[in-house]
C-alpha cells in the first residue's frame, strides 16, 4: 500500500517535472521564434555594417579589389584636417543652434495658443502646421527650390511688394544667406512635429494646477514660467534631443537645394559623407566618416540620457 502510494507520488512528481520542463521548453521556443526575424535583420543591416565600417575605416579602399592598403588611423586624421569637413560640422551646429533657439520656441508658442488659448478650428490649424511633416523631404525641397528661385520665385515676389530691390536676390547662392535659407525649409518641414508633441504634453497637465497658481496671485507669465513649462520638462527634453540628433542627420533638403554649395558653405556632415565617400567611391575614408558620425551620435545620446533624461537605455 505504502509502496504504491510512494510510487504514484514519484510518478506524479516526475510528471510535474516533465510538464514544467516542457513549459520551459515551449517558452524558450516562443522567445526565440519571436525574436529571431527582427534580430536577424538588426544583425545583418545594423550591427555587421557598423563593425564593417570600423574595419574598412583603417584602409584606403575604392571598393574594388582586395583590402590591402592598411592606413591605420590616417582616414580619421584626414577627416579632421579637411577644412570642408570641419565646415560641415560647424554648419550642422549652426542648424542645431537655430533649431533650438527658433524652431522649438515657435512650436511651443503655437502649441500653447492652440491648446490653452482654446481657439476655434484648433484641429484645422494643427493639420495645416503638421502637414509638411507628412510630405517627402524631396517634395519639400522642390517646393522651396521654387520659392527661393531668384527670378519669379514666391519669396522675391513677396518681398518686391515692399522693396523692389529684392528682385533677383539669390538666397541659395549667397554665401551669407544660404544656411539660414536652408534652416527656414527645415523649420517649415519639421516644427509641426515638435508642436504635436508639445500639444500632447500640454493636454496631460491638469489645468487645476495652473488655475490654483492663478488663484494664488500668479500672472499669466508666472504661470507659464513656473508651472506650465516645468511640468512640460520631459516633453521639452525629448524634443531638444530629437532636434539635436535631427540637425546632424539632414541630407536631401540640402542636397536638392544647394548640393552643399556655394563653395561648400551649406555642406552638412551627411552631404559631405555622400559626396566624398559614396560618389567618389572612397569607401575607406567614407567608413571613417560614418564611424565619426556614429560615435558623435552615441556619445551625445548616452550623455544626454544620463544627464537630462535621467534614465538608462534599458528603461
Amino acid at each position: 500500500m505504502d509502496e504504491t502510494r510512494m510510487l504514484t507520488g514519484t510518478a506524479s512528481r516526475i510528471q510535474a517535472n516533465t510538464d514544467k520542463r516542457r513549459a520551459q521548453w515551449n517558452k524558450t521556443v516562443l522567445i526565440v521564434a519571436c525574436l529571431l526575424p527582427g534580430f536577424v535583420l538588426l544583425t545583418t543591416f545594423l550591427l555587421i555594417p557598423i563593425a564593417q565600417a570600423m574595419y574598412y575605416s583603417a584602409y584606403n579602399w575604392n571598393g574594388l579589389g582586395p583590402l590591402d592598403n592598411f592606413v591605420g588611423l590616417s582616414n580619421y586624421r584626414r577627416a579632421f584636417s579637411e577644412s570642408v569637413f570641419r565646415g560641415a560640422i560647424k554648419h550642422s551646429f549652426i542648424i542645431m543652434g537655430l533649431s533650438l533657439a527658433i524652431q522649438l520656441p515657435l512650436a511651443m508658442t503655437l502649441a500653447l495658443i492652440l491648446v490653452r488659448g482654446q481657439l476655434r478650428f484648433q484641429r484645422f490649424f494643427r493639420t495645416i502646421f503638421f502637414l509638411p511633416y507628412v510630405f517627402s523631404e524631396i517634395i519639400a525641397a522642390y517646393i522651396w527650390l521654387y520659392v527661393y528661385n531668384p527670378r519669379g520665385g514666391l519669396l522675391n515676389r513677396f518681398l518686391e511688394i515692399f522693396n523692389p530691390a529684392y528682385a533677383g536676390t539669390a538666397w541659395l547662392t549667397d554665401l551669407d544667406t544660404v544656411l539660414v535659407a536652408i534652416f527656414v525649409v527645415l523649420t517649415w518641414k519639421f516644427f509641426g512635429f515638435h508642436m504635436l508633441l508639445y500639444m500632447a504634453g500640454l493636454q496631460n497637465i491638469s489645468r487645476e494646477v495652473e488655475d490654483s497658481a492663478r488663484v494664488a496671485g500668479a500672472n499669466e507669465y508666472q504661470v507659464l514660467r513656473f508651472v506650465t513649462l516645468p511640468m512640460m520638462r520631459d516633453t521639452i527634453a525629448l524634443t531638444v534631443f530629437l532636434s539635436i540628433l535631427g540637425s546632424f542627420q539632414q541630407f536631401i533638403v540640402v542636397w536638392i537645394l544647394t548640393g552643399g554649395g556655394p563653395a561648400f558653405r551649406s555642406e552638412l556632415i551627411v552631404t559631405y559623407l555622400y559626396k566624398f565617400g559614396i560618389q567618389r567611391m572612397q569607401l575607406g575614408y567614407g567608413s571613417a566618416l560614418a564611424v565619426i558620425l556614429f560615435a558623435m551620435t552615441l556619445l551625445f545620446s548616452i550623455g544626454y540620457q544620463r544627464l537630462v533624461l535621467h534614465r538608462t537605455m534599458a528603461d
Binding site: L35, V134, L154, F251
Partner: protein
C-alpha cells in the same frame, strides 16, 4: 469681474488668432502657389505666381505626366516598396514587442540595448555602411536591397511604440487566458494582438509614410531607373523639365495630393503613433 477682464481677453485672443493665421498663411502659401502653378502655363506662372489661370486650366501639365509609362512604373515601384516594407515591419515588430513587453528572460536588457542602437541611428546616418553590406549581399539594383534595410531601421521605433501599448494591457487578462488553457503564444494571438490593433495600425501608418517618402537607399541602391520609386522619379523629371516650372509643379501636386488624403484618413493613427497615444482629438 468679467466686465473688467473680458476686453483684455478679447484683445489677447485677437492677437492669438492673428499670429496663428499669419503662420498658417506663411506655411501654406508655398503649397497653394504650387497647386495654382500646376494648372497654368510656365509663362503665366513666372509673371505672377499668385493668380488664377487666365487662359483656361492647363490640364496638359497633368495629362503629359499621367500618360507617361515611367510615371506609372514609379507609382508601382513605390507601392511595391511601401507595402512589402509595412507588411514585414508588422510581422517582425509585433512578436518582438510582445516578448519585450510581457515575458522576462535572460539577456533581455542586452537585446533591448541592441534594439535601442537602432533608435539612435536612422538610415541616413548609416547609409554608407549599409550600402557596403547591400553590395556584399549582392542586393544592388534589387528591391530587397531597399526593403530589408528599410524594415530593419523601422523596427526599433515601431517596436518601442508597440511595447508601450502591450504593457498597458492588464495582467488579469493574461492570467485569465492561461486559466482558459491558452499558451503564451495563444495569449499573444488571441488577446494581445487583437487588443493592440489600433497601435499596430499606428505603426503601419508611420511605416507607410516613411517608406513612401524614402529616397536615400533608392538613390544608392537602385541604379536602374526602371526600378525608381516616385521620389527618384521626380528628381529625374525635374532634371528633364527643370525650366518648365508648371510641369514640375504638376508632378509635385500629384505627389502632394495622395499624401494629404492619406494624412486626413489616417490622422488618428499618425498622431497616436507619434505621441504614444497621448494627444486626443
Amino acid at each position: 469681474m468679467t466686465s473688467v477682464s473680458a476686453p483684455k481677453m478679447t484683445f489677447s485672443r485677437f492677437l492669438m488668432y492673428l499670429f496663428v493665421i499669419v503662420v498658417a498663411l506663411l506655411m501654406f502659401s508655398p503649397v497653394v502657389v504650387v497647386i495654382l502653378g500646376s494648372i497654368r502655363t510656365t509663362g503665366e506662372f513666372m509673371s505672377n505666381p499668385v493668380a488664377l489661370p487666365k487662359t483656361g486650366i492647363k490640364w496638359e501639365n497633368y495629362t503629359d505626366i499621367l500618360t507617361k509609362p515611367e510615371f506609372w512604373r514609379s507609382v508601382g515601384n513605390s507601392l511595391r516598396i511601401t507595402l512589402t516594407t509595412t507588411f514585414l515591419v508588422i510581422l517582425a515588430a509585433a512578436p518582438l514587442a510582445a516578448i519585450f513587453a510581457r515575458v522576462s528572460f535572460k539577456g533581455r536588457s542586452v537585446l533591448f540595448n541592441i534594439l535601442s542602437i537602432g533608435l539612435l541611428f536612422p538610415l541616413v546616418v548609416a547609409i554608407l555602411p549599409v550600402f557596403l553590406q547591400i553590395r556584399n549581399l549582392n542586393l544592388i539594383n534589387s528591391f530587397w536591397g531597399v526593403i530589408l534595410p528599410l524594415v530593419t531601421f523601422s523596427l526599433p521605433g515601431s517596436t518601442v511604440i508597440l511595447i508601450g501599448f502591450f504593457r498597458a494591457i492588464p495582467a488579469e487578462l493574461e492570467d485569465a487566458s492561461y486559466i482558459d488553457g491558452c499558451t503564451t503564444f495563444g495569449f499573444f494571438r488571441h488577446v494581445l494582438f487583437p487588443l493592440a490593433r489600433p497601435a499596430i495600425a499606428a505603426i503601419a501608418t508611420l511605416t507607410v509614410v516613411n517608406a513612401w517618402n524614402e529616397y536615400f537607399l533608392s538613390l544608392v541602391v537602385l541604379g536602374d531607373s526602371k526600378k525608381w520609386p516616385l521620389t527618384l522619379g521626380i528628381m529625374q523629371f525635374q532634371g528633364q523639365y527643370g525650366t518648365e516650372w508648371a510641369r514640375v509643379m504638376a508632378y509635385i501636386t500629384l505627389l502632394i495630393i495622395p499624401a494629404v488624403i492619406f494624412y486626413l484618413l489616417a490622422e488618428r493613427y499618425i498622431v497616436t503613433g507619434l505621441t504614444g497615444g497621448e494627444l486626443k482629438g
